[in-house]
Symmetry: D2
């Protein structure tokens, strides 16, 4: 039987995403799709979620959205499969548990909760942000599971490394 698909989660700010986060998220989505991986996001039509999903669709990838609500309102059109949780932000835990690797692209309260929940679950987290306080905080919290990268190229490279390690 064909093995389960690899799922990469891209987490990041919604409404408060910066331009650089949006650009990185779009590129991450594209690169993830080109690797043949499934993209998982929080599924909303704003910020990093929207940009990553659009990037993945641009490269003909498959996109999963783990929505906080239960209706179509506010869902990204670039989501192929919508998981309606109706859990509000408690769904953030599902986002990270369902991702083989978590990439945090930018920073916000929601993103911070996802990184923290990922670390609590001993998941690998790749941190793509220029926010110095975030880097210091999360690297101190879990030096072995948090990896800071400076661009999309390195995020994808790290992702491959983690996946290779996981399968051995």
């Amino acid at each position: 039987m064909v093995p389960r698909k690899i799922v990469i989660g891209v987490m990041g700010p919604g409404e408060q995403a910066k331009d650089i986060d949006i650009r990185n998220a779009h590129e991450l989505g594209k690169r993830i799709a080109r690797e043949g991986w499934v993209l998982l996001t929080g599924g909303r039509n704003v910020g990093v979620m929207e940009a990553a999903s659009q990037g993945a669709k641009f490269a003909n990838g498959l996109t999963i959205g783990i929505l906080p609500g239960k209706t179509d309102e506010g869902i990204s059109e670039a989501v192929d499969i919508a998981i309606f949780t109706d859990l509000g932000n408690a769904r953030n835990n599902i986002n990270v548990l369902s991702s083989d690797v978590v990439i945090a692209c930018g920073m916000s309260a929601g993103t911070a909760s996802e990184i923290a929940l990922a670390l609590k679950a001993s998941k690998k987290v790749i941190l793509l942000t220029d926010d110095e306080e975030s880097k210091l905080f999360f690297q101190k919290m879990s030096p072995e599971n948090v990896c800071v990268v400076c661009d999309v190229e390195n995020a994808i490279a790290k992702c491959k490394l983690y996946l290779a390690y996981r399968h051995n």
Copy 2:
């Protein structure tokens, strides 16, 4: 942009599934895959979940498993994309909210909770069981949203009807 994929949920007993439930579930999975729909189940490697997922993979379909736990233990090998909720049976609400149509194949406490949660959310439920008490109970509860069928053929036909209705 390509519209979101259609997701059909097949819910049913795990360990206590009857032979007829297993056969029906396998056939439902096959037929759902052949329609080009995504199959959603509770993702475990027993009973109706396992049989439906195996059926869908036999027909080269795409399968989503909404798992109650957070590890690979007990997951069906026929699940392509695993959503690890770590919510226990609270994940049953996600199962039904994420399904465009819910097909209940057989009966158990877990299945009954899913049907009830689906009706609470005004979802259409197709009931494929020979259990008389179940039919009477759920049809009385929601005559407009519960539809009893006697075989897989009719379940799929009803499914198409509901989907057509939904898109108009």
Copy 3:
């Protein structure tokens, strides 16, 4: 150290509660409070939840409300301690897991989901309803854990029996 408090859950319809359900729920709340037990409900200001909470406060009891949302909107004024879950109906699983005994007072889709989730968790359920289909359905599902009673008096008596059994 003083042992943990005994928590009795009263579940039942909200908006669609019948007069008899409301009267029974109010009396159940009173009787539960007089036994020194904590009352747990879904916390909303309608139907069985509201009536049971009011009954318990009338007898100076302590009331817990497990709310589906995250704001004060729609919360019963007779709830002493509000647990805001923001889980929608997935909170129904918390309602039953947190109750030492579950009393279902009346019937609705939400109530049915709670009974089914309680049975899935091997909890004792006391069913106070005149709905014949419900009795037949749930007693067949779990003859050992479902007990049908005809009035509040018997519901409380059964409750005591289950609690005594539990502590031995």
Copy 4:
């Protein structure tokens, strides 16, 4: 009718709690109980949860534990009312949504997720820790909702201020 009880959440590390966190948590529990407030914690029998609950019971307070699991295993004996969520760490969102004010006592991945979820929900968070990176990170994230204090005395004073503000 008597108004709803005030609920103060004390969040902090479990197994990895430092001695100073334990001492602070015990004192926080005592002080919270003496104010007549209800103490809410994650309910486990380790670290800050255990110490705060013990402190509150020492002062005859009422303690609520929002448990990640569904059984008595690992629950603090100082919890009066146990809410069994079976949500794993997704229950962290319930902890903060159900607290009128959140006090973070010490730091860990779980605690960080709770602070972040609290800020996402626009809750006030009082941060009692000597971890410099945590202070810098969370104060930058939400200068208006995060308040760093140096001891229990100031934590309680801040708590009163927030509660007074809330009721006006």
